[in-house]
């Protein structure tokens, strides 16, 4: 599904060159939930952005669903991302003036589909958000927000979910719920790349890697 081949990424800042990824190589396939854990600032988010076609690596090659996203035009890359990848973030990034239903449907902005409303309805039911469907994010609990973000990520039925600290703001119960949904998605043939600093999250993965200073260390 996704394969990193000796991928490096660095940034030129005011204090010189900062290396975020250094010779990263790994792959994740369907039915896998790969957990990459490491301390803050080790390059986890950069890894996720690179995987999602949002951050071009300086070196190395990436293969996403059989294509190198960075060999494509920005337009084609956006299309590939819309069809293939779903994002889940620690901060949820829900649009504040849209209801739960409308936030879930934003996925259809990139991939217009006739059955989007029906799919959104199913996701609302699946994630237990029936009573909150017409509420805006500010009226939701953090768990509900994250479930909404997860439902949004699943609307276009992506092959890969990229999750950045998806349980970082959640209590234990809500974190378990989210992991439950991710595990269900993986067992249905999906693929998840999850980055976190939480060592407990590794227990939910089919595989775990540790990252330190831009390198995978085990």
């Amino acid at each position: 599904m996704i394969e990193f081949k000796k991928v490096s990424k660095w940034f030129n800042g005011t204090q010189g060159k900062v290396t975020a990824l250094q010779g990263i190589s790994f792959s994740v396939g369907p039915g896998e939930l790969l957990v990459v854990r490491g301390p803050s600032g080790c390059g986890k988010t950069t890894l996720l952005m690179t995987a999602g076609g949002l951050l071009r690596p300086n070196e190395g090659q990436l293969n996403l669903d059989g294509q190198d996203p960075y060999a494509l035009s920005p337009e084609m890359r956006s299309r590939l991302r819309a069809r293939t990848v779903g994002f889940v973030f620690q901060q949820f990034h829900l649009i504040p003036y849209l209801t739960v239903r409308q936030n879930i449907l934003t996925g259809s902005l990139a991939v217009p589909q006739k059955e989007a409303s029906e799919k959104a309805h199913q996701l609302i039911n699946r994630f237990g958000l029936q009573d909150r469907a017409d509420h805006v994010p500010s009226k939701l609990s953090t768990g509900e927000r994250q479930r909404t973000a997860l439902a949004r990520a699943l609307l276009n039925e992506p092959k890969l979910i990229l999750a950045d600290e998806p349980t970082g703001n959640l209590d234990e119960d809500n974190a378990q719920t989210v992991f439950g949904y991710l595990s269900q998605y993986v067992s249905d043939g999906g693929c998840v790349l999850l980055v976190t600093h939480d060592a407990r999250a590794a227990a939910h993965g089919t595989r775990a890697l540790r990252m330190s200073k831009g390198r995978l260390v085990d």
Partner: protein, 430 residues
């Protein structure tokens, strides 16, 4: 979910930002439309003012012209056409010409289309001894006025003396005890007295008028006359005599023209002067109004761009504020696959909507403000239908121009939004 749904919901969410943008466009559009409308109101006021002054002048001139015409008619013919070789000293001394010209001349003149003189009266005058009465008289042979057919028919100033009749001046009929209907002998020919004139206190009192052909026969001047009397037309203006002389010289080369009745001429000249003064005053009024318009136009040409530029800057600032507030939203939309072109369409559409709404409100506000306050200032009541500017053009300027202004002013914020790097936003916010 479509871009349009998102756009409308965002506007409803950030009402203040959008309302301030609409207000800004409204001010820009309103000031432009207001300026155009105010200038048009100025033009309407000027037109009405000048029309009124012209109407007053025309009325006054018509009255003066009528007065002068009546005065000239009262004083009788004031243009005398004499043979060219007539010595004027003799003519002034005798009051009739000793030289002759063909009677045909009067027809030539009447048929020429001349407009500066009218009422053509051919005459043959001579001072004679009335042999039967043993006294000096002035014998005048006259026929009716020769009509100039190219002009509207006018009532003749003198009634023709029918053939075989005679009209006598006061002194003649009084001293000789002659009455209308009597018969008199003149140079061996019998005439019936047709008219006995009242006292005039001039040479007319010793004048006898008979039919021209009979006078020509009695004086042995067949087909000859020695004067054509005419009335100067008001249309000749203050250049009257030189113009009349020029025209008559072209038609009747062997003649000369004398003008009589200086009081009437002075009156006509005064009338012309009054007209000139009035026209000059209207011209001055027009110049003053034009200068005022130029000042207003200059003011509008400075103020309007300043207001429009300030509004454009304000729209840009609001645009940047909006982009900044939606940074995270744009980042997530890009992350889920929305293309930068679609983000751009979303922002451009927002600015078009903002421009159209602001432009429409600005149009209404500008027209209303200019129509009511501007017209009140000019002391006018003006409606949109009074203005000859096309309503469609004004609406196009207001709405189209406002939409263009909003899009141009919001272009940089739009480009910033479209080019925003989603990774940058999501990495830093996470």
């Amino acid at each position: 979910m479509t871009i349009w749904n998102l756009l409308i919901r965002e506007i409803l969410h950030r009402k203040l930002n959008f309302a301030l943008g609409v207000l800004s466009v409204m001010v820009a559009s309103g000031s432009l439309i207001g300026s155009i409308t105010l200038l048009r109101i100025h033009d309407i006021h000027t037109d009405r003012l000048l029309e009124q002054k012209h109407a007053e002048l025309e009325q006054r001139m018509a009255q003066l012209k009528d007065d002068t015409r009546k005065a000239m008619l009262k004083l009788g013919f004031n243009v005398v056409i004499l043979p060219e070789d007539q010595n004027l000293s003799d003519w002034y001394a005798e009051d009739y010409a000793s030289k002759y010209m063909p009677e045909e001349y009067v027809h030539k003149l009447a048929d020429s289309g001349i407009v500066t003189v009218r009422h053509f009266l051919p005459s043959l005058q001579q001072k004679i001894e009335w042999p039967e009465q043993k006294r000096k008289i002035i014998l005048v042979g006259a026929r009716g006025e020769v009509p100039n057919l190219h002009k509207n028919p006018v009532k003749p100033m003198v009634q023709p003396v029918p053939p075989g009749t005679i009209s006598l001046g006061y002194e003649l009929h009084r001293s000789l005890g002659i009455k209308v209907g009597d018969t008199v002998e003149l140079m061996g020919k019998t005439f019936e007295v047709n008219d006995c004139h009242k006292e005039r206190g001039n040479k007319d009192d010793i004048t006898a008028w008979i039919y021209l052909a009979e006078a020509q026969e009695l004086l042995d001047k067949p087909g000859q006359i020695n004067a054509i009397l005419a009335l100067e037309c008001m249309c000749a203006g203050h250049e009257g005599l030189p113009l009349i002389r020029k025209e008559i010289a072209e038609i009747l080369p062997g003649t000369q023209v004398i003008e009589r009745g200086s009081r009437v001429i002075a009156r006509a000249e005064a009338r012309t002067k009054v007209e000139e003064q009035a026209r000059l005053s209207i011209e001055k009024e027009k110049i003053a109004r034009d200068e005022l318009r130029a000042v207003r136009e200059r003011l509008a040409s400075i103020m309007t761009p300043v207001v429009v530029t300030a509004c454009a800057v304000w729209i840009a600032v609001l645009g940047f504020t909006n982009v900044r507030a939606r940074r995270e939203e744009i980042g997530i939309l890009r992350a889920i696959g929305v293309r930068s072109r679609e983000v751009m369409v979303m922002f451009v559409s927002r600015h078009i909507l903002l421009g159209v709404l602001g432009g429409a409100l600005g149009f209404v506000a500008g027209v209303l403000a200019a129509t009511y306050f501007g017209a009140a200032h000019e002391g006018l009541q003006v409606r949109m239908t009074d203005m000859d500017v096309s309503l469609a053009d004004l609406i196009f300027i207001a709405i189209g121009g406002a939409a263009a202004l909003a899009v141009i002013a919001g272009w940089i914020p739009t480009m910033v939004a479209a080019r925003q790097d989603p990774a940058d936003v999501l990495r830093n916010d996470n």
